[in-house]
């Protein structure tokens, strides 16, 4: 897995909540048996017109967002299907970081990203950053006023720096296990296989109730 330590790039915004993985990568692109070639189909139904030309109304097609590698979205990004193809599309388009807000509903904090999507991001070295709704709103406004603005993400320090004519810093929290995996680039399967003895011991005492 690719190491993630710091990243600097152009920030693009997509002003929609509940973006589902069907929208991120429509099903007609799930038929591939390869892990590559998904970037050009990211948000395909929104991104292209019927004739195949870029849809000028779609925010990622703005010329200021060309080459963007940090995506800022609204809450519950990546809901729906478990398809990892969605993360492959995000990553292969060029995004290394996705920022979304959590939401307070009464006393409950509603997470910014859907579980499976977030998990799939870690496996592909894409960093998901969760901020408060007000903070993400500030980023939306600053990007709107300064299109093409860049940001730097420092995973070690858990800081997001937005560089416009000034600099604004946002602190974020990342699960320590996710952080260490991204910083080291360690492969999960390799990590688990270090526990081979524990797994074998477990198998000798555990009954998986299979009848053959």
């Amino acid at each position: 897995m690719e190491v993630f330590k710091t990243h600097r790039g152009i920030v693009a915004t997509l002003d929609r909540a509940n973006v589902d993985t069907d929208a991120i990568i429509p099903k007609q692109f799930l038929k591939s048996i390869k892990r590559t070639g998904f970037g050009e189909h990211l948000f395909s139904d929104w991104r292209y017109l019927e004739d195949g030309n870029p849809n000028p109304e779609f925010s990622l097609n703005r010329k200021e967002f060309k080459g963007a590698s940090i995506l800022v979205v609204r809450n519950n990004f990546g809901c729906g299907s478990s398809r990892e193809h969605a993360v492959w599309a995000v990553r292969q388009y060029g995004f290394r970081v996705v920022v979304a807000p959590w939401k307070m509903e009464g006393k409950t904090q509603v997470p910014a990203f859907a579980d499976i999507f977030k998990n799939n991001c870690v496996k592909n070295s894409v960093l998901t950053i969760e901020l408060a709704e007000e903070e993400v709103e500030i980023i939306f406004q600053l990007v709107s006023k300064n299109p093409g603005v860049q940001a730097t993400v420092n995973l070690e320090k858990e800081r997001f720096y937005l560089h416009y004519n000034k600099e604004m810093t946002f602190a974020f929290d990342v699960d320590p296990s996710v952080k260490s995996r991204l910083l080291s680039g360690l492969d999960d399967i390799g990590l688990t296989l270090q526990k081979e003895k524990e797994i074998s011991d477990f198998e000798t005492r555990h009954d998986p109730q299979i009848q053959r």
Binding site: D15, S82, E84, V87, D115, I116, T192, K195, I210
Partner: protein
């Protein structure tokens, strides 16, 4: 200390816990299908790894399968995906229920049918509707392809322990209010991210009185509330289901007795603590119909299309976009919404009971003029059982199309798709933009509502029928 059902299963499957709090969790059953597995097998090959326990993985083909003639896949890329699964299963020694098998079907339908799904197990599949199997008291969840590879290689997953959320449905539902309506109501209440980070446990009188089919419908859509898994305590209804029919992988005789006595220990202890709880009065739930492009955009059939400002959990902008896509205006009565297509099937509502329920509304009647009705059994076993009862005749005489099994128009990866602006009453699980075909408009409903809408050409308050 008192434990929840989930905690009992979790504790029994922790292989070890790492210093950072991540646990290595043992996986008892792994289901795979053609769409999310090819890259996982390729990863194994590239790393020179083997499948650790091929006898715990089961494969089927469902997403790409044509439902008219299942043996001719016209789309070359779909065909390649199906053929790749066959080759991978052969190479790695995995049991496959292919298109020639009479036990083939949608992965979440055949798991329970074959007795692969049992209480107290951990179960995963590269498919978000794996939560279905939670109806048996199985900790079952969807995973991505990297995790499919991880399970193939290690028979384990790395996981942080999720939180628990108890959903209690008190009271008895009204006539024609089904499991589908209860789960849609819950999603409307807590939102499509309300369950994110939690394992849901469904409880209460309205759940206990449901059949296994109804319970599976509810657990299936846990992911539409954001939860990777939904669970229900196993009981006599569960045990009877496991003993009924031809379930080759289920325990029998003395093994079954032993298993049942263990399964009886699984339900949550009376004073077990959950991280969150909600109570819903099932007796107040009316048949539900979604009107938007997110499963939480739902209302009762006696209601109207809401105005953008009044929808809980969605911004006015999101609701406006959804109504625009759906071609609906605020204030319109739900029963005035006319449909072009009806889809009866999917891992949510493609079981025998679902096909019986919809057929009741079509028996001796005709499908409304101009409406296309597609009936797709969830598995070849469901199809055979339905034909044994004459359900196929009821559907065909009414003017519906009776098809072979598969995922079909739930996600429209096969040729069964909506055209732009076509409006569908669907028993499936997602009303996302383009889900059933680019530009298609999906309304999620119960099989009963789908059957009634097929005849009327619009939604109907079926409580009055």
């Amino acid at each position: 200390m008192p434990k929840t059902l989930f905690e009992k299963i979790w504790d029994k499957h922790v292989v070890t816990t790492l210093a950072d709090g991540t646990s290595v969790i043992y996986i008892d059953r792994h289901l795979i299908h053609e769409v999310t597995s090819p890259q996982a097998f390729e990863g194994l090959r590239l790393a020179g790894r083997k499948v650790r326990k091929p006898e715990l993985t089961f494969a089927t083909m469902d997403h790409n399968v044509p439902t008219d003639n299942r043996h001719i896949i016209a789309d070359a890329i779909s065909r390649a995906q199906v053929e790749t699964l066959t080759q991978n299963c052969r190479e790695f020694g995995i049991e496959l229920y292919d298109l020639k098998s009479d036990r083939n079907g949608i992965v979440h339908i055949i798991g329970p049918e074959l007795g692969i799904t049992l209480p107290g197990l951990t179960m995963v599949c590269g498919d978000s509707h794996t939560a279905t199997h939670g109806a048996f008291g199985t900790f079952a969840m969807g995973i991505g392809t990297s995790e499919v590879e991880h399970v193939l290689a290690t028979q384990c997953l790395l996981m942080k322990k999720p939180k628990t959320f108890k959903v209690e449905f008190i009271g008895r539902p009204m006539n024609c209010v089904t499991a589908k309506d209860l789960i849609l109501k819950l999603i409307g209440e807590i939102g499509t991210a309300g369950g994110t980070g939690y394992v849901l446990e469904y409880a209460g009188e309205a759940i206990r009185s449901l059949s296994m089919e109804g319970r599976m419908t509810i657990c299936n859509m846990s992911i539409e509330a954001g939860a990777r898994a939904g669970l229900m305590a196993p009981d006599e209804i569960t045990f009877q289901y496991i003993q009924a029919g031809d379930r080759p992988f289920a325990p029998k005789g003395g093994d079954l007795e032993k298993a049942i006595s263990y399964w009886k220990t699984l339900p949550s202890d009376p004073d077990a603590k959950f991280d969150r709880e909600i109570t819903i009065d099932a007796s107040q739930v009316v048949p539900q119909v979604t009107w938007g492009t997110s499963p939480g955009m739902v209302t009762g059939v006696d209601g109207v299309v809401p105005s953008p400002e009044e929808v809980k959990g969605y911004s006015a902008k999101d609701v406006e976009a959804a109504l625009h896509y759906m071609g609906l205006k605020p204030g319109m009565k739900i029963t005035d919404i006319k449909i072009d297509t009806v889809f009866i099937g999917s891992c949510t509502n493609g079981r025998i009971e679902d096909l019986r329920a919809a057929a009741k509304f079509l028996k001796g009647r005709k499908v409304a003029k101009g409406v296309r009705v597609l009936v797709v059994p969830g598995s070849q076993s469901v199809k055979k059982a339905a034909e044994g009862e004459g359900l196929d005749k009821i559907y065909k005489e009414a003017g519906a199309e009776w098809r072979e099994s598969g995922c079909s128009m739930c996600l429209a990866m096969n040729p069964d798709q909506l055209k732009p602006e076509e409006r569908c009453a669907s028993t499936s699980n997602r009303n996302f933009e383009g889900r059933q075909g680019k530009g298609g408009r999906t309304h999620l409903v119960s099989p009963e509502m789908a059957g009634a809408a097929a005849v009327a050409g619009h939604f109907v308050d079926i409580r009055k029928t």
